[in-house]
């Protein structure tokens, strides 16, 4: 679990760290959207250049990102293999039963691979440079329009920030209980599948028990500080949109325009 970096936050003071979380949040989704505009080597090159520049700006070591992707590599390769083997092409290089290999399918596989990398890098960048609290603020403000359809935005936002607040604590608790049970002779992750599944009972039951007791204590503590419900509360953390955030939008617009030109202008 230590190796996977998706969802972590690394403190820093770079340009990316200081961007408005709302902008970063929407920007990430927007970027995942425009990745599907890419259809040639040039377009992927452009996107890679853009992602690398963003990573560079975040001040986080590139090798760290690459190592973070490593646990996911089998999933990615599996998908890429499926894509390669099952895409029919005109110039068949090799075929057997339902599998076939062609230049087109190889290129397609490469595209899919790059698409995966781009999406993972970019979304990891969001979580690495944004604190969980900022992220939940961003989600709350992005969800605000949903109030029109009677969606309980404030409650959901509170739920989110409480959930995020307790992720590290529950992780610590998990490690602690795991260690305690290990000291009592449990072997996590060894033996037959059934044995492995059973070895998680001494971990999960204490975790559930402590989660419920945390929830109960927290609810009482919140009520005793005057909390009565989601509405009519003020906000202490205010998000501020700055000039740098406008620059980010400009960067996205430029990339989009370049992508469209490369896709529709050059080839046809």
């Amino acid at each position: 679990m230590d190796k996977l970096i998706v969802g972590r936050y690394i403190p820093g003071n770079s340009i990316i760290h200081n961007l408005d979380p709302r902008g970063k949040f929407l920007g990430t989704f927007y970027f995942i959207g425009i990745i599907f505009l890419a259809n040639s080597w040039y377009t992927y090159l452009l996107l890679f250049a853009f992602v690398l520049m963003s990573l560079k700006l975040s001040g986080i070591n590139l090798s760290y990102f690459i190592r973070g992707v490593r646990p996911l590599i089998w999933l990615i390769l599996f998908t890429v293999m499926l894509q390669i083997l099952f895409t029919p092409g005109e110039q068949v290089l090799w075929s057997w039963w339902i599998f076939s290999l062609s230049w087109q399918s190889l290129i397609n596989g490469a595209y899919i691979f790059m698409r995966f990398m781009l999406i993972i890098f970019f979304s990891t960048l969001l979580t690495l440079t944004t604190t969980p609290v900022e992220l939940s603020d961003a989600i709350e403000s992005v969800m605000k329009p949903l109030k029109w359809i009677k969606f309980p935005v404030t409650q959901v936002a509170l739920m989110l920030s409480i959930a995020l607040r307790f992720v590290p604590q529950l992780m610590d608790q998990t490690t602690k209980i795991m260690n305690a049970q290990r000291a009592r002779g449990v072997d996590f992750g060894s033996g037959s599948i059934m044995k492995r599944i059973k070895s998680f009972i001494p971990l999960l039951i204490p975790l559930f028990v402590s989660s419920f007791s945390i929830a109960y204590d927290l609810a009482v503590a919140m009520e005793s500080r005057g909390y009565q419900g989601g509405e009519n509360r003020t906000k202490y953390r205010q998000l501020a949109w700055q000039r740098i955030d406008n620059l980010m939008i400009v960067a996205f617009v430029i990339v989009t325009i370049l992508l469209i030109i490369l896709r529709f202008g050059v080839n046809r």
Partner: protein, 281 residues
């Protein structure tokens, strides 16, 4: 069981931006059958240190010897069970490790993992429950129906039931009432006199002077001082510089000396303090 650390270092999350030093260059020997107290302010490496003794953490450099077993950075996760049976570990707030339906089954969990038969484990559970001072009818109860202090006792019984030679206690009395504290500490002291080695992590200096015969002071992941309680508490200035406290009797004696009581004795516990005062008035 003798425990020796040779140039042990430990780094949390090595090779990541969150890299963080836990222990640095630890050279230390804890003798067989000793009552060792580990003190030092929060984050000084005490808990990290004790987790190395039964290989819950493995050093990133150096070598640890626990009895016959040697732990190095390359030590395999297999074959650690005998070690963990010999080194029992009571974590902070150990009540959070209870999970079985009855107290008896929870206490039996450790012994059975270490290969005892069900009969033996039942015997051990009964004995351990008695040791921690709970009546036998608790065996059939659910651990979640007990009070916090009783859960703590059951959890400690669960560790004692495997009959470890060395017992590591990470602030075992945190959050207990004064009576519960005293009972627990007396229990550990008795276990020590029955022949077990005790390693106690604590912030309570009274416990150190009352029970320990060996003290290790940690500071910033290093061993700052190692000696008997009287050696450790002899230098008042050093104790203050390391954000530690003096035991009450030492503090009181120092005040008396400042007021003019003439003696060279340095009583550590209340009983000695009373003797010193009566002998010098």
């Amino acid at each position: 069981m003798e425990i020796s650390f040779k140039q042990v270092g430990f780094i949390y999350q090595q090779n990541t931006p969150m890299e963080n030093i836990g222990l640095e260059d630890i050279n230390l020997t804890i003798n067989d059958h000793s009552f060792t107290a580990l003190i030092g302010h929060t984050g000084s490496g005490k808990s990290t240190f004790v987790q190395h003794i039964n290989a819950l953490l493995k050093p990133t450099s150096g070598e640890i010897k626990v009895g016959e077993k040697t732990i190095t950075p390359e030590t395999n996760n297999k074959d650690l069970k005998p070690l963990r049976q010999q080194v029992g570990m009571v974590f902070q707030f150990p009540e959070s490790q209870l999970f079985e339906e009855t107290v008896e089954r929870d206490i039996m969990f450790g012994p059975m993992n270490f290969g005892m038969s069900e009969e033996e484990a039942k015997q051990m559970a009964k004995k351990a429950l008695h040791q921690v001072g709970l009546p036998e009818e608790y065996l059939e109860k659910s651990p979640f129906d007990l009070s916090g202090g009783q859960m703590r006792r059951v959890a400690i019984a669960g560790v004692l039931a495997s009959n470890p030679k060395t017992l590591i206690l990470d602030e075992p009395t945190a959050g207990l009432d004064p009576e519960g504290r005293l009972e627990m500490m007396t229990l550990f002291n008795n276990l020590y006199h029955e022949g077990k080695s005790i390693i106690l992590v604590t912030h309570n200096m009274e416990d150190v002077v009352n029970y320990a015969d060996d003290v290790v002071v940690f500071n910033h992941g290093k061993v700052a001082k190692h000696g008997t309680p009287s050696e450790i508490f002899a230098d008042e200035q050093w104790i203050k510089d390391n954000n530690l406290e003096l035991p009450r009797s030492v503090e009181f004696m120092n005040q008396l000396k400042a007021k003019g009581l003439k003696t060279t004795d340095n009583p550590l516990v209340i009983k000695e303090l009373i003797e010193t005062i009566t002998n010098n008035i």
